[in-house]
Amino acid sequence: MNPKIARHVYGWLLFTPAAIFFILFTHYPIVRSCFLSLFSNSRGGRPPEFVGLENYHYLIDDPIFWQALKNNLIYAFGTIPVTICLAMLMAVWVNRQMAGRAFVRAAYFTPTILPMIAIANIWLFFYTPGIGLFDNILQYFGYPGRNWLGNPDTALACLMVIAVWKDAGFFMIFYLAALQGLPKDVIEAGRIEGAGRFYFFRRVTFPLLMPTTVFVVFNALINTFRIIDHIFILTKGGPDNATELLLYYLFQTAFEFWDTAYAAVLTVVIMAILMTLALAQFKVLERRTHYQ
């Protein structure tokens, strides 16, 4: 075969098996979701009808959607700063020489590899009214127990605590890698100048860790729209929609209410959010590289 043509043929042949599955389970569903979101559900044997943006009007008037979006934002902005601070702190600590460093590092990282369902099973017991760990602590100090997950004021916070616990160790490893890659001469200069540890961190280390922080922030943001497994065990979106997050609402709409058209609308919304976040991350990283 002519080598010039062979290049194209081999290239395509090698790509084809993967391409089939990419199209079938990623690209087709994206297009199909957009399409379905413009139609009504089929009712009583009648085929779906084109309804234009009617489903989107419904979305704008749907208080549960807005509640879920609000919860998602609270969840993100409540957990991410705390997780990042803890991750940095963990990385700085684990990066030093100290007794039992291996144990400490393993303790920080282990929650990352456990399935969210297993984690939720364990934490469920902590939050159980009356006999759970938190109520035991409260009662020890003479306070009455409370229904942590059954109270709309505390339920979302309970989920957020778990998210911080699970993610801090994961983000620690990125900071740890960044710390170990810091230029040695800068660290040395800081040491000779006699800069205090905290001062040095604030003026030198923290700015140098900025690219890692950008990466971690966007990853954490995207995760809040992706990881909802614990809701299935702990609250199922309740009480009173207090722990309804967007992806969980999509699941309920599709597989509990069987409202395919509206589920397609929610899919489109989630896709739009995820793509916006990815493009924003790209823009931020692109801008940063000009300065470095």
Binding site: H8, F15, A18, A106, I122
Partner: protein, 271 residues
Amino acid sequence: MEPSAFWHRIETLAAWLLALIWAAPLLYAFWAAFHPPHYAVHFSLTAPLTLANFVEAWQTAPFARYFLNTILYTTTTTALQFVLCTLAAYSFACYDWKGRDIAFALILIQLMVMPDQLLVVNYQTMTALKLVDSIPAISLPYIASAFGVFLLRQNFKQVPIALAEAARVEGAGPLTILMKVYVPLSKSVYLAYGLVSVSWHWNNFLWPLVITNSVTTRPITVGLSIFGSPENGVNFAIVSAGTLMSVAPLLVGFLLFQRQFVQSFMRAGIK
């Protein structure tokens, strides 16, 4: 004592304290699982050790079958990912074909929107393919992985062209070059990708929940969610035992190969 040594000790102490807090939930699950149910809320150093909770958990739910399903699903997915992503990455890294850059840009969309968010249409597709409630149905949406293609392509690009050229001169065809030159030089990437993929799928929940509805297909996470739900009324000691059993393979693997796990996750994240 000079101040820096003093602060060094304070920091070590704080690091230890945080580590204990971080380990507490898991240690607590161990405590509850290995003691009679009564001791789940009463700490006592003299509490008798027992394996009864594990026995009861094992008998209450078909854990053996769930494990088998998870192993089948996880290994199938990872193996097929290796094959498809290797071929695609080889194509992107070493062949300059018409439409390549557009195709690459298109598959990167999957880094933003994963099959997990597309479960409504994917469920319809599986219904049309008559695959609902089967192990292939859990796997198929994941086997073409943009992340895998991306990771392997990066690595293949770093392989010196001269090596491939030398093999070509000796008469090796494209697939021989791939198997004899590129794959052996990327062992560490396959290890990293394999570890991340196996732990990701071992823990995967939402799509398996949606697409399975019987004991013969449900992976361990879905089985565990049914087992542990409060409606089931199983006490905490037994839930802990079941939970620990289902995470045991990953946990043991992690403790044995900690360095590889951490490096793999890091490599996978940074890309």
